[in-house]
């Protein structure tokens, strides 16, 4: 059971290193999927939202962590 728990924790930690990052990333994918399937915007534009949104999440959470550490 200890090994299974360690395995489960390891697999979980691989993808949920930070809950905020995970929530934002999943939200971004949901938004892009909505844009793509609703046909509101062209597919390439939805792709652009995905790319720029990923950059924004990376920048935002790096800044948040840096400011948190330096306080």
């Amino acid at each position: 059971m200890t090994l299974l728990r360690a395995l489960a924790h390891e697999v979980f930690a691989m993808f949920v290193a930070d809950v905020g990052v995970t929530v934002c990333a999943l939200g971004l994918v949901g938004l892009v999927a909505l844009l793509r399937w609703s046909g509101v915007v062209a597919p390439q534009l939805a792709g652009g939202v995905l790319v720029l949104g990923t950059v924004a999440i990376l920048v935002g959470f790096v800044l948040r962590a840096a400011r948190g550490k330096r306080r």
Binding site: L7, V29, Q44, V62
Partner: protein, 248 residues
């Protein structure tokens, strides 16, 4: 372009990603196996490692056919999301380490910690099993990450074999170098490798999510390189700004 060149151009990113990511994970597992081997003996270290590799092999053999029969678009979307999460986590930490906000991982310190913990146990035969289990757990846990990377970069485009070759080469490199130096591979530029893996995973993740959602990326596979360049420049820029103290 010849068929060979086309195949290599398609397979190269998968091979490189699998090799680099596997290198990081296998170095971490090697440190623990080295500690077990040094303190409790190589027989238990190798037994634990071999047992973990057997379990990993069974997992891959069972999952492989399942992935081969999964519908392509949902598979790419799922793998893309997992790679996005994995890549964001790794790249964020690698940037913070490169920027001096977090400490770099020290393989020598990890090795010292592991050997101290093993030596603190009483000298009893049955504790060889505990040491062997330590090696087994380390190789299994790091191996699962390797298996994920291999599947993630290879499953969507029939590139499981090239990705597996990349991972196997990384394993061989670490084992050969480790056997020669017989100490923790502390000089491996771990954070630089994690930075690179984070960039590659993010690039693959975004690419697969797009493919899974039916987005036709301009330039097709060349878009992967563009994404990689974008995330690399972003990461390096952030790390540089952190070091210069501009983002306090």
């Amino acid at each position: 372009m010849s068929l060979f060149a086309q195949s290599w151009a398609t397979a190269a990113p998968a091979v490189a990603s699998a090799f680099t990511a596997s290198l990081v994970e296998i170095v971490e597992a090697f440190t623990i196996v080295l500690a077990v081997g040094t303190v409790r003996g190589w027989r238990v270290a190798w037994l634990g490692t071999a047992a973990a590799l057997v379990v990993l092999g069974v997992i891959v053999v069972l999952l492989g056919p399942a992935l081969a029969h999964a519908p392509l678009a949902p598979l790419r979307l799922t793998i893309g999301v997992l790679l996005l999460l994995f890549g964001l986590g790794w790249l964020r930490k690698a940037v913070l380490r490169a920027g001096g906000v977090l400490a770099l991982r020290d393989e020598n310190a990890a090795y010292a910690r592991d050997t101290a913990a093993l030596r603190a146990q009483a000298q009893a035969p049955h504790l060889d099993w505990i040491a062997g289990f330590t090696a087994f757990k380390a190789v299994l846990l790091e191996g699962i990450e390797v298996a994920f990377i291999v599947v993630a970069v290879g499953a969507g485009r029939d590139l499981l074999v090239p990705a597996s070759i990349g991972a196997a080469c990384a394993c061989a490199v670490v084992l050969v170098v480790g056997a020669i130096v017989h100490r923790p591979l502390a000089r491996v530029p771990e954070n630089a490798l994690k930075f690179a893996v984070g960039v590659m995973c993010l690039a693959f993740g975004v690419f697969w999510i797009g493919e899974g959602l039916g987005i036709a990326w301009p330039g097709e596979d060349a878009a992967l390189l563009a994404f990689g360049a974008l995330f690399l420049i972003t990461g390096l820029g952030l790390a540089r700004a952190l070091r210069a103290g501009r983002l306090a």
